[in-house]
């Protein structure tokens, strides 16, 4: 019996292997009923399958969604397959992904009424060679986020372009283990934003013509809080010069135009080897969260921050802050490129934030409390703080999702 059982087992395993090797490709062409045909393919796909969209323009009236693990959704090319949501009548995003192991690649998403591509609660989610754009240019009525993984784990954003988002082009929220690379964010309010997330590597990207280039924030009152450990390196953060067009009420509506990198209420953030220039307010801004909150677990201060070895060009010539013009002229034509609000304490007692701002000069506003601009006693130093803050380790995604960088 034992031998027979073993034989059965081998047979079953062979069968399982055979079936997993028979991954199918479900092709979808543009044209009439594309909504129902594509959505049906997204429902019919089995784990391992590919849903392949032909070249051409698809027009949708509603959001699409995928809830099956290990499915790849691919177009014929980032500039060849276009999913237009200009006629969208419902749903909060273009494509919503709620399953694990999904890759979306080689297509363009246009003019969604809400967010572009969203994943919620997904593990191993990859967005590769996709464009999300609002074709009417920067407008308050554009959707909030272009590429939007939230509450997700193991996030890969590679060779993505986002333009026109009224909040953040590439936005990763309440997630962990994140890589954003080789991507381009332009004409958004925030180019790339990492929020309430841990372990993110943001590198080899271009953030240009946004209001703010790259933001790392932590906000109170959310299910996932206490974001930390982000590395921002080898990015070009240049000419972020689009007036803020975010609808009021959203946190990014308070980002002044012309900020390269903005760090708020987060810890263990290292900014290095970036090229940062052409940003009228500041190259790198460190600020505390200044709105009221009653979340005892929340720390509103940026802390354990390193800014080093960036190539910092012309920045800060007209800070879009109260008294910014006067500040620039008092400092000889432009404000120092690295700015810290100088807040070292808030309601809950704790250690003084550790910073190493090697790139300078550094403007310390010496505020006595978050947002208390009336208490400013600006001082300038060549650098601020001292080395010794450990850099977060590189983010490594599962091998099935991403080949480790040599």
């Amino acid at each position: 019996m034992a031998a027979s059982n073993q034989f059965m087992l081998a047979w079953v395993f062979a069968g399982a292997l055979a079936s997993s090797a028979q991954a199918a490709t479900l092709r979808v062409a543009p044209g009439a009923d594309a909504q129902e045909r594509l959505q049906t393919a997204l429902l019919d796909a089995k784990p391992g399958d590919t849903v392949a969209l032909d070249a051409g323009k698809f027009s949708f009236t509603d959001g699409l969604s995928l809830d099956i693990d290990n499915v790849t959704v691919t177009g014929a090319g980032q500039d060849k397959t276009v999913l237009s949501f200009a006629g969208q009548k419902g749903a909060g995003e273009g494509l919503l992904i709620t399953s694990d192991g999904v890759t979306v690649r080689d297509l363009t998403v246009q003019d969604t009424k809400g967010d572009g591509l969203k994943s919620k609660g997904a593990d191993r989610i990859s967005f590769v060679s996709v464009t999300v754009e609002w074709t009417g240019g920067p407008k308050e009525t554009n959707g909030a986020y272009g590429v939007y993984p939230v509450s997700s784990t193991n996030v890969l954003i590679d060779k993505v372009t986002v333009r026109g988002a009224s909040d953040a082009g590439i936005y990763v929220g309440q997630s962990k283990n994140i890589i954003v690379r080789n991507s381009r964010a332009e004409f958004n309010v925030a180019g790339i934003e990492i929020e309430n997330s841990t372990n993110a590597d943001v590198f080899d990207n271009v953030a240009t013509h946004n209001t703010g280039g790259i933001l790392v924030f932590d906000l109170p009152g959310l299910p996932v809080m206490g974001g930390h450990s982000t590395r921002i390196f080898r990015n070009q953060v240049v000419d972020n010069d689009t007036a803020n067009f975010a609808p009021k009420g959203n946190i990014v509506a308070s980002v002044p135009v012309g900020v390269g990198v903005m760090l708020m209420a987060n810890r263990d953030v290292h900014v290095f080897d970036n090229a940062i220039s052409g940003n009228q307010t500041s190259a790198v801004m460190l600020i505390s969260f200044s709105r009221s909150f009653d979340d005892k677990a929340y720390n509103p201060l940026p802390r354990d921050i390193v800014v080093r070895d960036n190539r910092i060009g012309r920045n800060g010539w007209l800070p879009a802050l109260p008294g910014g013009k006067e500040l620039a002229s008092a400092m000889g034509g432009s404000a120092p490129p690295v700015m810290w609000d100088g807040v070292t304490a808030y309601a809950t007692p704790g250690p003084v934030p550790r910073l190493y701002l090697k790139d300078g000069p550094v403007l310390n506003l010496n505020l006595t409390a978050p947002g208390a601009l009336e208490t400013a006693r600006p001082s300038v130093s060549a650098t601020l703080g001292s080395p010794g803050l450990a850099e977060p380790p590189p983010v490594v995604l599962p091998a099935s999702q991403d080949k480790p960088v040599a």
């Binding site: 429902l43 009236t61 959001g63 009548k89 909040d167 299910p223 009420g249």
Partner: protein, 352 residues
Amino acid sequence: MRRWAVLLFAALSLGAARPAPPVNLAALLAETPAPSLDAYGLFTDAGARTPNPALTPYALNTPLFSDYAEKSRFVFLPPGTKATYTPTGAFAFPVGATLVKTFAYPADLRKPAARLKLIETRLLIRKAQGWVALTYVWNDAQSQAVLKRGGVRLPVSVIDRAGKPLTIDYAVPNANQCKECHSLSGELSPIGPSARNLNGDLTYSSGSENQLAHWTKAGLLSGAPAPGAAPRTAVWTDTKAPLSDRARAYLDANCGHCHNPLGMASNSGLFLNLEEEDPAKQGILRRPVAAGRGSGGLEFDIDPGRPETSILLHRMNSVEPGVMMPELGRSLVDEDGVALVRDYLRSLPASR
């Protein structure tokens, strides 16, 4: 609506001469869904006007607004099985349990029980591995409902409540959209049949009775306390109930299925389910996180005492995708719901 269930039951008692064939449990539990609704035997006529006697109608104290569609609800349990009472959330249902909900429009919204045209019948089937959602769309002849997995928009023409012609851009959800609302920690789950939303009277063919008591007596439910000892969601249209109870019940039914700690909108941190007790999580002086243009340029989800500057009401009052809430299930503004929530927000003490 309750009215409609009563009508169906009047029809049932008239046509009760011949015994109906049993519900086709094998079809309900089959891996491949039946291509048309009649295969399940949930109704004894092709037009689904007469439910199988094995079905029990139910109604919710406060339901979801669905573009003024009339909804009939039935539960089917396999013979000899019972649901298990739980004080919070939907009851625990046995394998084979099926919730049957039909959406229909009257020709004239002012006469909600007259000349009903069926649009779709949705099934939630409890299988061994979990719940499955299916929707069947009715043909114009009202003779057959066929499976529709990918969703579809159907224009529905009615006379509106003001007596004017209205075309409703009715959206039949796709199978994933069913789950976007019916989701608890990523698993499909019923919403309606909970202790507190069933804890009210319904007119059965045998007369009016509390639903929890009726389910217990009929052998459909085990473990339920007396209705007076069970939680109860207010009836949102009951003007004798306190305003806050009615408004919170409305928000629970219309928003709380996503906006709860285990729902699709968990990441928002805005929780509108009745169980939420923290005013900040209910939205009071809460700033938006990912609202985008949904904020309407306003600062707070709920600005107490000031409905006109509350994002929550702004989004209820919109039909613009990307702004409107809920995101799915309506294309019209629920004017009565907006009025109720507006009164409630105005009643909250202003703190600034």
